[in-house]
């Protein structure tokens, strides 16, 4: 299992998309105070720069995290999983679990890459550090559902673009539903993470049955 996690992490780390997403995310967040100043967008009166930037961070996460996940994860699916399982003598569910973990870690790295910019906004807006920690922990937690949704989609299609678009659309829908169901974005993130663990459990439970044998086309 350790070898598989290391391999998945290595594959993810080798993709330029990982560093690219971290840079783009941090750069766009950094541009926000540069463009609007320390008070942020005036028409959003009463909301601090930090709060405005936090909203932007969520919007970026909804688009960027599924894209990053779709770009960085290893490309095996369906019959390839059967071959990989035979090669490594490891069950497809464990291979998939390793992929989920590696992808979630990659997404955490993308979110963490923007932390210096976010901390700057928190300092400029004089927001309590505890609030910053709670918000960022919620966002980091969100990397889990984003990874799980994208892994699901990437098993359905060989096309990374379609996988990303499908995962991004699904992510937006579930986040919207979650946000409408609970009081704050942070609660929504925690609820989503909990639900997504259930979705991952279903996928993992099915994987050993779905990908036990090659399809007749490949046999």
């Amino acid at each position: 299992m350790r070898a598989v996690v290391l391999r998945e992490a290595l594959v993810a780390a080798r993709r330029p998309a990982l560093v690219g997403a971290a840079i783009v995310g941090a750069a766009l967040l950094a541009l926000f105070p540069l463009a609007w100043g320390v008070r942020g967008i005036p028409t959003l009166g009463g909301i601090s720069l930090y709060d405005q930037q936090f909203r932007l961070e969520w919007i970026l996460a909804l688009v960027l995290l599924p894209w990053t996940a779709a770009r960085v994860m290893a490309t095996e699916r369906a019959d390839d999983f059967v071959g990989l399982s035979a090669l490594t003598a490891i069950q497809p569910s464990r291979l998939l679990l390793a992929r989920l973990l590696a992808t979630a870690i990659a997404l955490v790295a993308v979110i963490a890459g923007a932390l210096p910019v976010v901390i700057s906004a928190q300092q400029m807006s004089a927001v309590a550090a505890s609030r910053l920690v709670a918000d960022q922990v919620a966002l980091l937690t969100f990397s889990l559902p984003a990874a799980i949704i994208t892994v699901w989609w990437m098993q359905l299609t060989t096309d990374r673009l379609l996988g990303w678009l499908g995962a991004a659309a699904t992510t937006v829908i579930v986040v919207t539903i979650a946000r409408l169901s609970v009081a704050t974005m942070n609660q929504a993130a925690i609820a989503l993470a909990t639900i997504s663990v259930g979705a991952a459990a279903i996928l993992l439970a099915k994987a050993d049955v779905w990908w036990r044998y090659l399809s007749e086309r490949r046999a």
Partner: protein, 223 residues
């Protein structure tokens, strides 16, 4: 080590295997030959648990290959026409991953790469089809599996690499590794038995004198 009884495999429009019976003891070696598309690869894929037989039983190491697929996979390694996705990995990284997953020391991976004559630091995406075939052979060697299923393993190997691999396979058999080689080249020297498949049935089975260490590797396998 391996007992195959009444093995039948039917695809949508054709019967690839029709009631094959075969028994191989631990450390045994069987060369499977026969015309193309007459069931050789299907037999290897069934033994590798990559496909499910239509009927019949395969028992490997006392385990039923249909009901205990994932436990059987720990015993067997298959080198054949398999798709390898590069995923930006190098040859050594790929082989170390296989060795690590199979709980083998990483040195096994380096030995396997050297045996088949692959450049360890070459990116997989830069490998030609033949070299990718070598990589699957190296992966099977690196796996340390008790049963090696080699489907046309010498395609793409130069003479020196072929001799090295043969030497290694002979030594592996002496250490108890069971070997099944599907090839129309003269691989019989590596094995103590050969069977010929035609129309999905074993039409010929012959026993050979056990290969001794004194036989030069290049005489074990003819081109």
């Amino acid at each position: 080590m391996i007992t195959i009884t009444g093995l039948t495999m039917t695809f949508e429009h054709r019967t690839a295997l029709a009631g094959v019976d075969l028994s191989i003891e631990r450390g045994g070696g069987v060369a499977v030959s026969g015309p193309d598309r007459e069931g050789r690869t299907t037999l290897m894929q069934l033994l590798a648990t990559l496909i499910r037989p239509t009927s019949g039983t395969i028992v490997i190491g006392g385990l039923d290959a249909v009901t205990e697929v994932y436990r059987v996979r720990r015993l067997v390694a298959y080198a054949g026409p398999t798709r390898i996705l590069p995923n930006r990995l190098r040859v050594d990284e790929y082989l170390r991953f296989v060795a690590g997953a199979r709980h083998q020391p990483s040195a096994t991976a380096d030995i396997a790469a050297d045996l088949v004559g692959l450049n360890r630091s070459a990116p997989i995406e830069a490998l030609a089809d033949e070299a990718r075939g070598q990589l699957t052979l190296a992966a099977a060697i690196a796996s340390g599996a008790a049963v090696l299923l080699l489907d046309r393993p010498f395609d793409g190997l130069d003479t020196v690499s072929r001799d090295r691999v043969c030497e290694w396979l002979v030594a592996a058999r002496q250490n108890g590794t069971t070997l099944i080689v599907s090839d129309n080249a003269h691989v019989a020297g590596l094995c103590d038995r050969s069977v010929t498949l035609c129309d999905g049935c074993i039409v010929e089975s012959a026993a050979h004198a056990p290969s001794g260490q004194t036989v030069p590797p290049r005489e074990l396998v003819g081109a």
